[in-house]
Amino acid sequence: MLVTDWQRPTAAVLGRILDSRAHQYWDPAHLVALRLAADARAPQPRQQCCVRDGILWDLAAVYPPGVQWTAQVPPAVFFDGPIVKVKPELEPALATSAALSPGPR
């Protein structure tokens, strides 16, 4: 997305997310962004930003417990960015969603 994105993220970049639950993917073709955009529908909120050259980026999507990805990605309960600016809204959305979870978080 940026002019500097000519290579896979280095170990130092990956090291910024050390949570063992996180899986990090290299997606140079923006397949996830394209799928999220194509499958966006109500009641998922519409993002206020985060589209460059028609591609979603710098965006977070929160999916509550119970929803499944079938033919389409399910509607997210939170869908917005840029991450650095939506942190105050993202954290409560995660907490609310996590409260619904019966399993480990």
Binding site: T4, V13, Q24, L36, W57, A60, V62, A76, L94, S101
Partner: protein, 143 residues
């Protein structure tokens, strides 16, 4: 008088060192140093890059325009200037890449984090496998 005799050689040495120092590319070194420091000290990066740019401009002036005691322009000083210029430009234009390269060279920089090539079917399967939990998908630039 005695003090003058003692101080004269010291003054001469200081003068000589000053004369040599003005011909050495300290400003250029400082420019590169400030730029590299800006990678680490992110909040004041714009100021450090400003200092770097000013010092580079001073170095450029020293090399090509100054008509004082430093007329000699050696290949070394020219090479140092342009290497510093490239370093400062790299830090200014791609600070994340430079920072990543710096940190990536350190042992254990990634903390064991793994990168997987995206396969939508795999992602979908993992998404559904964690259906009893909240899932968060975040789209980031690699830099």
């Amino acid at each position: 008088m005695k003090h003058g005799e003692k101080l004269a050689p010291v003054a001469a040495v200081v003068s000589a060192v000053s004369c040599v120092a003005c011909c050495l590319p300290f400003g250029i070194f400082a420019a590169a140093g400030a730029a590299w420091l800006s990678v680490i000290v992110e909040p004041i990066r714009p100021y450090l890059l400003g200092v770097s740019a000013a010092l580079l401009a001073f170095g450029l002036w020293q090399l090509y325009r100054a008509r004082g005691t430093c007329r000699r322009r050696t290949r070394t000083s020219i090479a140092i200037f342009w290497v510093s210029f490239v370093l400062v430009a790299a830090v200014a234009l791609a600070p994340q890449v430079v920072g990543s390269l710096l940190a990536g060279g350190l042992p254990g920089a990634g903390g064991g984090a793994r990168l997987n090539d995206l396969n939508l079917d795999v992602l979908k399967a993992e998404f559904n496998r964690a259906a009893d939990r909240t899932r968060l998908i975040v789209l980031f630039s690699p830099t």
